[in-house]
């Protein structure tokens, strides 16, 4: 029952934008701009990249301040495998936990057993096997890993296309081939059967990692994502309130190019972008 309710909350986010915020003031801006939820964190990914060091769960005081400031759901991040950070966030009664590769992993081998928690989890994935492994561990929502803090959408596109190509393969395969595909993808067999029957992932799948413009958001929606996360893309841009509202509008009206043309006008500078092959650390390679 808990799983159904938690999957249900994720369904309510569909067609929406979830925004990274580092304080109550930014959370308010996000809510007014039409965010469906906010992600509370201490530093946005592009700052984590610049400043380096170990990135951890946020100070509970900050999370509580953000919860007070807004009426929309509040999410927060824990390090991969750090189940005590997750216990603390559950005690703080956040609405959703992101077990995130953007923070420094606490466990290089294992993710959190998310079935042990009542609070819902979202996890990143680069391919179908990874998505289904996370769902097998109890995640009720998936997002592409992309490459956070780069303002470069190329990795999110790669991950979404990979997931979809693998889903097409599963849907076209006769049933006797599914066990071998499960082995190749490293995916739980039962979930692969469910996917073959449903014709889609059993949970909501959002885009994340590198989305910086309304066009990026619409691109990910047209590629088949259910919604988008925007991290550094909003509050590292010249006019966050305006850009946030524009990305919200573009996500809903992703199939209307004339409208996208209007939405994209005069937003000021986007966040500065980074090329993937010049990165010191690829966050997407954390967790597997």
């Amino acid at each position: 029952m808990r799983t159904e309710m938690n999957r249900g909350l994720a369904e309510m986010f569909k067609g929406g934008v979830i925004m990274d915020v580092v304080n109550a003031e930014q959370a308010k801006i996000a809510e007014v701009a039409g965010a469906v939820a906010v992600m509370a964190l201490e530093r946005v990914p592009s700052d984590i990249r610049k400043q380096g060091g170990v990135a951890r769960m946020s100070d509970p005081e900050l999370i509580l301040g953000i919860k007070q400031a807004v009426s929309i759901p509040v999410m927060a991040k824990v390090r991969i495998g750090h189940f005590v950070e997750a216990q603390i966030l559950e005690a703080l009664r956040v609405d959703f936990i992101d077990e995130s590769e953007v923070l420094t992993p606490a466990d290089e081998q294992f993710h959190i057993n998310k079935h042990k928690f009542s609070v819902p989890f979202v996890c990143g994935a680069r391919n179908l096997g990874e998505a289904l492994r996370r769902i097998g561990e109890g995640a009720v929502m998936i997002r592409t890993k992309g490459e956070a803090g780069t303002g470069n959408v190329v990795e999110a596109v790669r991950h979404m296309r990979t997931i979809q190509a693998e889903m097409r393969r599963v849907q076209l395969a006769p049933k006797e081939e599914l066990m071998t595909i499960a082995k190749e993808l490293g995916a739980p067999y039962e979930l692969l059967l469910e996917l073959a029957e449903l014709g889609r992932l059993p949970v909501v799948n959002f885009a994340a990692g590198g989305i910086a413009t309304p066009a990026d958001a619409a691109l990910m929606m047209q590629l088949g994502c259910d919604g988008v996360f925007v991290g550094s893309g909003i509050f590292k841009s010249a006019d966050p309130a305006r850009r946030a509202a524009a990305i919200v509008e573009a996500t809903t009206h992703c199939n209307d190019p004339e409208r996208l043309a209007k939405i994209s006008q005069g937003l000021g500078e986007a966040m500065p972008g980074l090329e993937i092959n010049r990165l010191e650390t690829a966050y997407a390679e954390r967790g597997h």
Binding site: M1, E4, M5, N6, G8, L9, E11, M12, F13, K14, G15, G16, V17, E31, V32, A33, G34, A35, V36, A37, S71, I72, P73, E90, R93, V94, D95, F96, S118, V119, P120, A245, V248, E249, T252, H253
Partner: protein
Amino acid sequence: MRSVATKVRVGVLALQGAVREHLLAVTKLGHQGIPVRNEAELKHVEALILPGGESTAMRKLLDQAALLPALKTFAVHRPILGTCAGAILLSSRIVGQPTHHIGVLDVTIERNAFGSQLNSFAGRGSVGAIKDYPMVFIRAPLFTEVGPGVQVIAQYQGQIVGVRQRSIWALAFHPELTEDLRVHELFLKQE
């Protein structure tokens, strides 16, 4: 009463939220489900469903699409059903907020009346003549006051979770998240 065999063009406000689930329920009942994102699309439908999602986000998108006046007019003439966030959009008074959204339903609604996601729950109860209906409450609102022309059609543990004012229906829970189509069926049978 409209016979079940008549195919109704049912719009689902498709700005954000659980749109697909409502469209699926409508289609399973043999009606035509139509996503509505603008005024032109609204003109094509005979009934409208406002889905669950985030009401603040939907309001922003309604303003961007300049859809509020058309929805107010629609609610006067045509059946309209709001679930969860959709119910908030319809309500005339929202606890703690100075203004309403569509505001055609004479009730006071309290957003997120139970607390965080950890307080979300499911149960069963009656909706009008429908007995033992599965009710899923996700960060759900509650109706705290209903006006004289409003009929209470669903209660859960003594609290008002479903109301009806003429052909305007509002529910605090999510019929679209269950396989049980009886609420959609009842709503679409009225005329």
